[in-house]
Structures are given as C-alpha cells and as structure tokens.
C-alpha cells in the first residue's frame, strides 16, 4: 500500500493544506485569547517600545547565565531596564529616572503590582507567555511597555 501526491503544484499545495488544517487547526484557546486581547488595550497610556533585547545581541560567547536576558523599554522620557533571571521566572527592574510608585507586571495571564524603592528598583515574578509592564506616570497617566513573548 503506497500513497500518491498530486503532480500539479496547486493541487499539491491544496492537498498539504487540507491535511495540515485538519490536523493542525488553530486551537480554540488561541482564538479566545486573540479575541480577549482587545480587553487589554490601554487607550489612556503611552507606549514604551522595546529598545534593547539581549536575546538579539548575543554572539554566542556571552558570559551571562544561559537563562538570563536583559530588556530595555523606552518611551515618553522613561526608561525601564529589566533583567530576567532563572529563565524568566524572576525579574529585577529599574525605572530611569528613578521614580517611586507602582509597577504592574503582566505575565502569563496574571497581573502583579509591585512598588519601586527610592532608586527606582523593583523585583517581581514573571512567567512564560506574553509580558508587559505598566508604570504610573502621575494622575490619569501611565506608560505601558509593548508586549513581548517571554
């Protein structure tokens, strides 16, 4: 018993597509999460963009631990620097310039609020999945980092 593939390119692509869409459809949970992403919009907040990601800089001879990663976000005069430790399960961060206040860390579908010390430092737990931080920036204002996948 052997199987055949179509000789025609268009038919072959259709064939493979048929197999893969039956065998690898978009999971319902993924569609639900995509729909739910709308609710995470922060129309009141300014965006801090990812300015540095050590993942994209490493040349293979890095001296840091394999699971460590440094990220820098910048926006609206604020720089947020973070170090991900233990493969991303823990993070230490700093706001530059330092400012006291609350930082919301959203990771793995959960939100945790931590407070910064006088030097603008904070620590938090993280987790796999989409990640971002929200920083208070005075009454009615906030800065959010863009989402990245941890």
């Amino acid at each position: 018993m052997t199987f055949d593939l179509p000789d025609d390119d268009d038919l072959l692509l259709d064939d493979v597509c048929d197999v893969l869409s039956r065998c690898d459809p978009v999971p319902h949970a993924v569609l639900a999460a995509a729909t739910g992403a709308f609710a995470w919009r922060r129309v009141d907040a300014d965006l801090a963009e990812l300015a540095f990601d050590s993942l994209l800089e490493l040349t293979g001879s890095g001296t840091r631990g394999a699971g460590d990663r440094q990220l820098t976000f910048e926006g609206n005069g604020l720089t947020i620097e973070i170090d991900m430790l233990d493969g991303g399960s823990q993070l230490i961060g700093q706001l530059v310039p330092p400012q006291p206040g609350a930082v919301q860390v959203q990771a793995g579908g959960r939100t945790a609020t931590v407070t910064t010390d006088a030097g603008g430092h904070f620590t938090a737990a993280a987790g796999a999945g989409p990640f971002r931080m929200c920083v208070d920036a005075g009454p009615g204002a906030a800065i959010v980092t863009e989402w990245i996948t941890l």
């Binding site: 992403a37 796999a128 996948t149």
Partner: protein, 184 residues
C-alpha cells in the same frame, strides 16, 4: 475594520481575529514552534495589534502587519531556545493519535501522517513559505514577501522547489515504509 476596532468596536475586533488568526498561526507553526510557543506568539501578535490600532500606518495591510509581528516574535522565541522540542514532533504525534481525529478512517489518517511527516522534514524556510501560502484568505505575493522578508520574484521559484522537495521526501519515506506495509 481596523478603524472601527480602534474606536472600541469589539465586533470589528472579533472579525479581524476570525480573518487573520489562521495566517498568524501558520507563521508561528511554519517556524516549527510547538503548540505552547505558537499560542504565545499568536497572542502576543494580537496584543501588539491592540496597542497599535490607532497608530497603524496602513490599516489595509493589517494581515501583513500581524504576520510580520508573528515572524519576529517566532524568531525571538527560537533564539530563546527554551521549551523547545524538535520541530513537528507534537504535530506528528497529534496526527497519528486517534483522539485528534476520531472520525477519520485509519487509511486516511496514515496518509495524513505521511504527508505531514514529509512536510515537517522540509527546511524551515520551505515550511514557513508553504504555510503562509496556504493561509486563508490567500495572501498576495507582495504580502508573502513582506511577511517572510524575501524578494517577491523569488517566491514563485521557491514555492516550486519546496513542493518538489516535498514530493521527493514523500517518495523516499514511502519507499522505506513499503516493507512494513507488505508484512501487514
């Protein structure tokens, strides 16, 4: 739809999700990400779109924007290199398992597994290209070029080459499978 979603219309957002999640998923899977990583990449792509709805330069090309975002995130996840399993492993397991396709006849399931195996054996670039070409609605070559960062003129020839490799891989798999089939 993008403008309506930017104004807060959740129904317009759902329509975007229905229309483009297949494309975004195909990009992540095309790079060989497992279900967990691909799910994260797709969700991150949509979260990114949500925060960029009002600043998107060209709302008509939202599909390409999403797919490009998914490609960059996929590459990032591949670099991260954790939680990574050999490409195609969980898909192959899924296809051969009866739970995944209870109503599909055994013979069809075997062929599915053979087709899928040949597909997963392709180079990453071929898998990514074919997956994106298969997405529904079909993207234009200009969109494919943007999504995968390859010249428009190279897409047609690469498509043909990748499909040829697919046939070759399928036939050599089939040769190897034959003795087992005879014993049956």
């Amino acid at each position: 739809m993008v403008e309506r979603a930017a104004e807060g219309d959740a129904r317009a957002w759902s329509e975007l999700v229905q229309q483009y999640t297949g494309l975004v998923w195909s990009v992540a899977r095309g790079y060989g990400l497992d279900t967990a990583d691909a799910s994260d990449v797709v969700q991150t792509s949509w979260l990114r779109l949500a925060e960029n709805l009002t600043t998107l330069r060209d709302p008509d090309r939202v599909g390409a924007w999403l797919a490009t975002t998914a490609r960059r995130e996929s590459l990032r996840v591949l670099r991260r290199g954790q939680r990574q399993i050999p490409s195609g492993m969980d898909l192959a397991a899924q296809i051969t398992s009866e739970d995944a396709q209870p109503d599909v006849p055994v013979l069809r399931r075997e062929r599915d597994a053979a087709v899928s195996h040949a597909f997963q054996g392709l180079p990453a670039l071929c898998r990514a290209l074919l997956r994106v070409l298969m997405s529904d609605p079909a993207p234009s070559y200009a969109e494919v070029s943007e999504v995968l960062d390859m010249p428009v003129g190279s897409i047609g020839p690469r498509r043909a080459r990748c499909l040829d490799r697919m046939r070759t891989a399928f036939e050599s798999d089939d040769e190897r499978a034959r003795p087992i089939e005879v014993v049956r």
